[in-house]
């Protein structure tokens, strides 16, 4: 119980600091980094619902991200509608797509499932980049900036708090998955599906629900990201790189832990920002640098802290407690 509380204390500290930063710092670069850390963390939290808590490792979650991004961008660019409506439409579409992926998770195991999710996201990429009449094809869509909350035309400070609210909400969803009946049942499914079934747990239905919920949450982030960045490029939003990023933040932070996605996000986002500043001259060679970061980070984590950064924090805490007992 005490350990659980201290685990939450870490999260509380993180969110408190994140809330305080925009009050103290007005530097745009700094705020931008904070917003991205919160958003990428939320995306990994959304991924974690399927990949961590339900054990359905997807490498195609950019599909849902792209659906969310495109829904809102197209709606506001073409029809002048509020991106909030676009967010809702994106969620509905992602629930539909999530049901398909969830169904696949009951047909295919492990690597086969992961591969099928990649294929799914690449199909969407082809549609988005070729369907010129509707999506503007590979040119992408600029998202019009209209000031106001209803149109999500916000300043950096407002964006920081919006991203924080999203992060807190997603954190709460994960905590629910750790404490609730359905959360424990999902843990059973993740550990051993046959055993879970023997105990009266409808494993297939729970997996579909988890994957679908994960898809809808990812879509919400996609919408917000597109509105924040102001441009939707099909080759970026549906990329495999992005899917890997969602998974990697969560794995590095600690698979199936509630704060893990943001711990991973801090590390990866900070590294990326640093490298971008350092190598800003090298336009052409830059694209590959992500893969280098991901690769190195993943190797280090798997080799030295397979339980992720959240696990390291727990270990340090335990050592500290013992030393001061």
């Amino acid at each position: 119980m005490a350990a659980a509380l201290r685990g939450r204390a870490g999260a509380l500290a993180f969110f408190a600091v994140a809330a305080a930063v925009p009050l103290a710092v007005r530097d745009q670069f700094f705020l931008d980094t904070l917003i991205l850390i919160l958003l990428w963390g939320a995306l990994s939290a959304a991924w974690n619902v399927a990949g961590g808590y339900a054990g359905q490792v997807s490498l195609g979650h950019s599909a849902f991200f792209g659906i969310g991004a495109y829904s809102a961008a197209l709606l506001s660019a073409r029809y002048g509608q509020s991106p909030w409506i676009g967010m809702l439409i994106g969620m509905v579409l992602s629930v539909g797509a999530g049901l398909i992926i969830g169904y696949l998770s009951n047909r295919l195991r492990g690597p086969y499932f992961a591969l099928s999710t990649i294929a799914f996201s690449q199909v969407l990429l082809i549609v988005a980049s070729r369907w010129r009449g509707f999506t503007a094809g590979s040119e992408g869509i600029p998202v019009p900036f209209r000031p106001g909350f209803a149109t999500l035309g916000l300043g950096h400070v407002a964006w920081a708090y919006l991203a924080l609210a999203l992060a807190a909400l997603f954190y709460g969803i994960q905590v629910y998955l750790e404490r609730s009946r359905v959360g424990y049942q999902l843990a059973g499914v993740r550990e051993d599906e046959d055993a879970a079934e023997a105990l009266g747990i409808p494993s297939r239905r729970l997996k579909v629900i988890a994957v679908t919920a994960s898809a809808a949450l990812t879509s919400v982030c996609g919408t917000l990201w597109a509105q924040y960045v102001g441009f939707v490029d099909p080759f970026y939003v549906f990329s495999v790189d992005l899917s890997i990023r969602f998974a990697l933040n969560a794995i590095i932070g600690g698979l199936g832990t509630a704060l893990g996605p943001w711990l991973g996000s801090i590390l990866i986002t900070a590294l990326e920002t640093y490298l971008r500043a350092t190598f800003s001259g090298m336009k052409t060679g830059f694209a590959g640098i992500y893969l280098v970061i991901y690769g190195v980070a993943l190797i280090l984590v798997v080799r030295f802290v397979p339980e992720g950064l959240a696990g390291v924090a727990a270990r340090l805490r335990a050592r500290w407690t013992r030393a001061h007992a």
Binding site: R179, S180, R181, Y184, Q185, A187, G188, E191, D192, D194, A195, A196, E197, A198, L199, G200, I201, P202, S203, R204
Partner: protein, 241 residues
């Protein structure tokens, strides 16, 4: 409570279970024995919904449940354990059992209380906080039973929960099964340990090459010529005498 009518299950050309019929009434403690590969586990898999039978009917309280998924059958009150134990390895023993208790309970808190009770009944209290994967084999078998019990079954299927136990553990689990039966639970028990079976079961079914070759009281079974030839062997009969 449970009726099997000429149930069959094939794997390719192999017939693992051939037209097995049996009847289990409320309060029974039925034993199933037979040599390795006789089809005992396959029969459990068919009853519990893991395999759809290729022929015959599985009636639970008069309702044909063939083709229903295992979780639905569990909710109807039939729970099985696995011969090759399947603990939720990374979860604590307490959480393992609590997840079983969630079958009948909506609240996690209530399920915890229930789990504590079951864990005590099964003598796992000292290990309640440990990750299930750290348990030695004997205790894993007991966890398997505890988790199944927590679902509050009316009919419990135990698949070789005594295999690999030392004499003290064996005595403990036999005592536990006796107590559960005395409290009104209906059980089907697969076991190789004949001595234990003799003491526990009211009735024994003998499977051989997927077929029922004998059925009767333990005393009748040990006198049955075919059972002795197929399974028990002369030494056993001599030892009994």
């Amino acid at each position: 409570m449970l009726t099997l009518e000429r149930v069959s299950k094939h794997f390719g050309g192999l017939t693992a279970v051939r037209e097995v019929s049996l009847e289990v009434r409320a309060g029974d403690l039925l034993g199933i024995i037979g040599p390795n590969g006789a089809g005992k586990t396959t029969l459990f898999n068919v009853i519990a919904g893991y395999y759809r039978p290729d022929g015959g009917r599985v009636l639970l309280d008069g309702r044909d449940v063939a083709g229903q998924p295992p979780h639905a059958i569990c909710r109807l009150g039939l729970t099985r354990t696995f011969q090759i134990v399947k603990p939720f390895g990374n979860l604590s023993v307490g959480d393992n059992v609590m997840i079983g208790a969630l079958n009948r309970l909506r609240s996690v808190r209530a399920a915890r209380v229930e789990a504590e009770r079951v864990i005590e009944t099964c003598g796992l209290t000292a290990q309640a906080g440990a990750p299930a994967k750290t348990l030695p084999v004997g205790l894993r078998k007991r966890l398997e039973v505890a988790r199944a019990l927590a679902t509050r079954p009316r009919l419990l299927l135990l698949d070789e929960v005594m295999a690999g136990l030392n004499p003290a553990e064996l005595a403990g689990i036999i005592e536990l099964i006796r107590r559960l039966h005395a409290d009104g639970l209906t059980l089907i028990v697969i076991e190789h340990i004949m001595a234990a079976m003799m003491r526990l079961a009211q009735r024994i079914v003998v499977l051989h090459h997927g077929e029922t070759i004998a059925e009767g009281t333990p005393a009748e079974i040990t006198r049955d010529r075919r059972v002795v030839d197929a399974y028990l062997g002369e030494e056993f009969v001599l030892a009994q005498a």
